[in-house]
């Protein structure tokens, strides 16, 4: 029997972090619409916010253990992949903040997007073979109760949803910063949202199917 249930503190921090990010981004956008800040300052503020969100998510990533799936993913390999992803995101987040504070806006947008896309590709490549365990879980512990299994499944579902939302927002921000033409940005983000929603739907169906099997 598990005596110390899986910690929810990092997951709560992530949830509140995302809510804070959304509120801050909405405030900046509203301030621009009301004419309180200039469009260039809005872009700098949004770049800063994205950087802070990326750094905070990266910081907590190894703590929420998204790839942890005993029986499927080797513990050491999963922990190393989570740590690499966490460090990558923290460093990219710090680079975002530095660029949007110090560099000329156009340079900041271009370099930060390239860094962001490179980070997403690196993490995706590093996680590729471990994602199977992340989605479908491992063998439950022999002495684990049904309530504990349900709790672990719900936590897994929440962490997957949060990370999915994060990577979607991050990829959209990178695309928006990389291209100048509004129509190109709209087309790319539209296709990205279609692909992300399709993958998200498939993941949720897979997770529900896994839960019903358990």
């Amino acid at each position: 029997m598990i005596t110390h249930p899986i910690s929810t503190r990092p997951v709560k921090a992530l949830v509140f972090g995302f809510m804070g990010f959304a509120a801050a981004a909405a405030t900046v956008a509203a301030a621009q619409k009301m004419g309180a800040i200039e469009p260039a300052s809005t872009k700098r503020a949004l770049g800063l916010l994205v950087g802070v969100m990326v750094a905070i998510t990266g910081n907590f990533l190894p703590k929420v253990r998204p790839l942890n799936a005993p029986g499927v993913n080797p513990g050491k390999a999963a922990a190393a992949a989570e740590r690499l992803a966490g460090w990558t995101l923290v460093l990219v987040g710090i680079a975002y903040v530095a660029l949007f504070v110090l560099a000329p806006l156009e340079e900041a947008k271009r370099i930060s997007s390239i860094l962001g896309i490179a980070a997403i590709v690196l993490i995706a490549a590093n996680w590729a073979w471990l994602v199977r365990g992340m989605l479908f879980g491992g063998k439950p512990e022999p002495d684990e109760t049904a309530a504990e299994q349900r709790y672990a499944a719900e936590k897994r579902k929440l962490v997957v949803s949060l990370l999915f939302a994060f990577f979607y927002a991050f990829a959209t921000a990178c695309a928006a910063f990389l291209f100048r033409d509004r129509q190109t940005i709209n087309e790319i983000t539209w296709w990205m949202s279609v692909v992300f929603w399709l993958i998200y739907g498939a993941i949720m169906v897979a997770l529900d199917a896994k839960r019903s099997v358990n």
């Binding site: 029997m1 598990i2 005596t3 110390h4 899986i6 910690s7 503190r9 990092p10 990266g58 910081n59 907590f60 990533l61 190894p62 703590k63 253990r65 513990g75 050491k76 922990a79 740590r83 966490g86 460090w87 923290v90 512990e141 002495d143």
Partner: protein, 105 residues
């Protein structure tokens, strides 16, 4: 955050975290690496767990410990390891002792 600093201030606890980098380990396997009594080792585990740096699960008779550190905590551990950072217990205790002596006199 003070709990994290307290946990990382002790070389034994830092060594435990280093060992757990290689994967989850049982309390017994961890204790074999130290010349410390069992209650003292349990106290170290409790401090680390309270700081949220490790997670523990009981499997049968043995307790399995697993690393659960954020990037910032990982960086702090690296910093502490590099500079051999320890909290001087005497310095912490000194003001309390002075207050006690003043009130007793």
């Amino acid at each position: 955050m003070s709990r994290v600093f307290k946990a990382l201030s002790d070389p034994t606890r830092r060594r435990v975290l280093e060992l757990l980098r290689n994967g989850p380990m049982s309390a017994g396997d961890l204790a074999e690496h130290f010349n410390v009594s069992k209650p003292a080792m349990s106290a170290h585990f409790a401090v680390l767990r309270e700081a949220g740096l490790i997670d523990s699960q009981k499997h049968g008779k043995s307790v399995i410990y697993e690393l659960q550190m954020s990037v910032l905590e990982d960086a702090l551990l690296g910093f502490a390891r590099t500079f051999g950072w320890t909290i001087q217990e005497s310095r912490v205790a000194k003001p309390k002792r002075i207050v006690r002596e003043v009130f007793n006199s």
